[in-house]
Symmetry: D2
Subunit: 330 residues, 4 copies
Amino acid sequence: MVGIAVLGAGRIGKIHAASVAANPKAKLIAVADPFPEAVEPLAQSLGTEAMNDCMEAIARPDVDAVVIGTPTDTHVGFLLKAVELGKAVLCEKPIDLDMAKSESAAAEIERVGGRVMLAFNRRFDSTFAEMRRAIDAGRIGDVRQVIISSRDPGLAPPSYIKTSGGIFRDMTIHDLDMARWMLGEEPVLVSAVGARLIDPTLKQYEDYDTAMVLLQTESGRQAHINNCREAVYGYDQRVEVLGATGMLTHDNLRPTTMRVTTAETTDAREPLLNFFLERYAQAYRSEMDAFIDALADDKPMPTTVRDGVLALRLAECAVESVRTGRAVAV
Amino acid sequence: MVGIAVLGAGRIGKIHAASVAANPKAKLIAVADPFPEAVEPLAQSLGTEAMNDCMEAIARPDVDAVVIGTPTDTHVGFLLKAVELGKAVLCEKPIDLDMAKSESAAAEIERVGGRVMLAFNRRFDSTFAEMRRAIDAGRIGDVRQVIISSRDPGLAPPSYIKTSGGIFRDMTIHDLDMARWMLGEEPVLVSAVGARLIDPTLKQYEDYDTAMVLLQTESGRQAHINNCREAVYGYDQRVEVLGATGMLTHDNLRPTTMRVTTAETTDAREPLLNFFLERYAQAYRSEMDAFIDALADDKPMPTTVRDGVLALRLAECAVESVRTGRAVAV
Amino acid sequence: MVGIAVLGAGRIGKIHAASVAANPKAKLIAVADPFPEAVEPLAQSLGTEAMNDCMEAIARPDVDAVVIGTPTDTHVGFLLKAVELGKAVLCEKPIDLDMAKSESAAAEIERVGGRVMLAFNRRFDSTFAEMRRAIDAGRIGDVRQVIISSRDPGLAPPSYIKTSGGIFRDMTIHDLDMARWMLGEEPVLVSAVGARLIDPTLKQYEDYDTAMVLLQTESGRQAHINNCREAVYGYDQRVEVLGATGMLTHDNLRPTTMRVTTAETTDAREPLLNFFLERYAQAYRSEMDAFIDALADDKPMPTTVRDGVLALRLAECAVESVRTGRAVAV
Amino acid sequence: MVGIAVLGAGRIGKIHAASVAANPKAKLIAVADPFPEAVEPLAQSLGTEAMNDCMEAIARPDVDAVVIGTPTDTHVGFLLKAVELGKAVLCEKPIDLDMAKSESAAAEIERVGGRVMLAFNRRFDSTFAEMRRAIDAGRIGDVRQVIISSRDPGLAPPSYIKTSGGIFRDMTIHDLDMARWMLGEEPVLVSAVGARLIDPTLKQYEDYDTAMVLLQTESGRQAHINNCREAVYGYDQRVEVLGATGMLTHDNLRPTTMRVTTAETTDAREPLLNFFLERYAQAYRSEMDAFIDALADDKPMPTTVRDGVLALRLAECAVESVRTGRAVAV
């Protein structure tokens, strides 16, 4: 039985806490958040202890592992403390918005052999995981091109955008990890373009709402990512992989599989699941199960801080590419 | 070069005449129709001769084969005359609305070894033909169940309905032939229900606008047909075949393959091709090519008057089943 | 908080017990089953009490409602006892395999105003429920035809078949309920055919492995059901509804939405979810939630014993139709 | 009646000649090709005159318009001669592989007001044309992103590759035209990457077999193109358009719409139509009809040499981008 504390009682903390509580191999020791009004109802509903000091929660002797779901700028502090105390960690992305700080945290964790999993939830989506397995099983031969379409249902509020680190570090970063994972090789070249087609005021943050990226690996495998902060039909999440002997694609998810046919249109499906909490509900559960399994069976972490650093570096390259108009070498 | 005369310059005659004209192995000798205002423009547009007497056209020495696309009650007369004169025939369905007359015409044709193909156009649709080939190739094992959905885009005018012979002889008959073809065995039992959900006045003709049929063969293979005279989304034509090791299905046809996604619905396709002339345009051409190939290469006719008689007999059984509330033995 | 006891610790009892345990408005008071080796591990895993006497469980004062998931021949006994004691009941189908016994149990329950929900799980499938809502919302106009394809992934073992009551009472009955629900009117006429295409030895039980049914309501609405005990591609569950102004269809469910394209085939999906426990996992949870909501909010039961009686009567008519070759009036 | 001569009796010349012959508003005056063994059978099969001197064919007084389907390096010569003689022209792409020569030819044609249509056949595909109409009709709002996947079924022979001008000028150029058309604005920035994942010997021609391109317009609309010279599943031709209020996608085309379901996979479709002659059969016919309609009704040409120059310029930018690692301003 793995004793786990969840830090952060916000949207993502709630999901992680519920996943821990539902996993028979783990015990949810506590949920911790400085805001009593957030953490207390959560603790109560899950029959666990509420704490207000995250550092204290990390230090508890009955806590074997912590899940970090607090604001981004607190990640590194909790991460290093937990590793120092020999606790395993499942940490939300990104490690930090600052590349240097992320890199040095990762180096420190690797130096001491810290057991840290970075929460790239999409890798645990059953469809994407099946695609990766199909590639590994040789069903489409060597990968040649990866095409990723990833669009949010609607523009986030200015308050969120302002502190998000920008579209490439905040949104594209998930797709950059997916691209790395599906390519099976590290990109060495990044080109990107950014535009403001929805909200021109993003200019004040040097941010964009619409973006496209090209990646190429040493051997020549290519990936494309297209992002838009607003897709009126829902949270669009698609990955296509072209290989030497085949191709993998998949459908988006809807609430049901109903199709409506009328005099105007035929076989119309419902809008997509609205956003990541619904779209990746299964992935969040499976991610937690994979973390707990890795701990329970003493297996390697399925994703690492290194993955986080590499994805962030690609995001930095994309930012630089837009700024300089050059393909940036990673 | 096969010399062909097309009898009838109506909707279906025009299609057949154009198919003959486009086939490099055939020569369109003439089109014949008692109405000069119909036959003359047709002949002119195809660069062939217009005639007003169908019997004369049949008798021409340069005519090797005739295509009968005239009103149903004239079929048997032209058919027997052509066969008597040793001409091959492609005849529109049905042979006749009267079972006895159809049966005796078929018997006579078979007695003298007449070369007659009955125009079951759907068998020449590329998708249905590919399904039949897939069955023959053993891709789904022994056939178990056939499900046929066949719905017209809109109710025909009363004038048409009155002389149509009723839904089972006029509409279901195509599906009964498809069922026979896909089952690969003759049905021995027919059950049917009929309803008037669209036009209650059909009662005066003892006709129905909505119908369902069950068929079973000696070995127990089953087929279901559902018909409706009105489907607002277009001409719905679907066949599904369940076998011991697999299943065949297919999509309906639309004008294009576009899919529209909006805030309300996703992946919506266009309405179906409106009616049989559009839906089976390829099938009509392939049907004529198959007829001409059979003549040019002296091969057996792909469909025969016997097929016409057997489909009509199943239609008669369906009528009787609705009337008596019994499953009727064929 | 509704206190609930689950009777039966078999496959379906486990699912119901877990659903009760997960519902925040209910408390799982006990699970009861005469076999200690079945009920004890279940009780332990859910943190509840194990009992061996179902009647005792029903009688407990802290039990407000019971869920009957025991063998079919025990249903009526527990049902009537629970109702007598004023307990609400969620009872698995069928009430009983015997029509008369089912009818008299239903009559008694209705006489005393017992609160009993019959577990027609498919009505709680999110897709089918959405289809029903779409009909109610007028999206396809008046219903004209319902087409139901329902095929098991593989033949059940002889031991199961022998006591199942036959394909119509055991398998078709779910589809008969679905047909009633989607038609929105009671069928008044039933025609059916049955065949043994997979296992000829079913003859000894006068049973069939392949069947088709036609239903018609007073106003002329029609439904078709096709059943097969073996579909190699998985548990096939499809419902199509044709209305005056549109049509509803839907897709089957697969483990993921991946599509594989190779030189041989394109866009190939995975086999269907194997069987009802996987296919209807969400429906079982929603069914229990609906039961508990009805109790908590004192609302009418979403399904009743009357639904069970009516579906069974249609199954009886189908059996009679196969035997007599007649369309049977309900 | 428009008198037309078709220059070139190769693969594409045959298609154009047949399209002219089938169009009731045009008369196929002659087909011309220096190779008698190519042009004579073609002329015979279409009942027209065979010529061996293309310039002579252009000059015939009964020739109102010429269709240029000869080798690329002869295009400009015939084009300018025809325009000089006041003949309308439908010219195959590209005008010329050399940018300067293309530009000067276009300038000359525009100077004298020559009526020249450049054969961007894909614009006449019924699906792509319907997508463009849907955009014009406002069904998806302002265009934001265009995603084009365009992959050949197999690597062309070295002899073809050597003189092709390279993947960007030979293959991507069609997609660049499509991107311009769907974007509705001119791209001002081009980034591209190229790789040799199939045939490393392409290095000798500084050519690539796998490529990706990004385009951005002044207002920030973006397009992505991915190309691969080999897709084992057939000729993959997909265009997706994301707009402010919706998205357009479409399906690839197969020989039939059959779907095969077995124990291994469900709903598998057939491989795609193999290559452009099959995939764009309808588009070639519609292209010719549009050309003839423009002549017959004295309407503007649906595509112009300017379109050819602009697409070629984007291809040049892509080549430069790969070479320099810069986003190239158009």
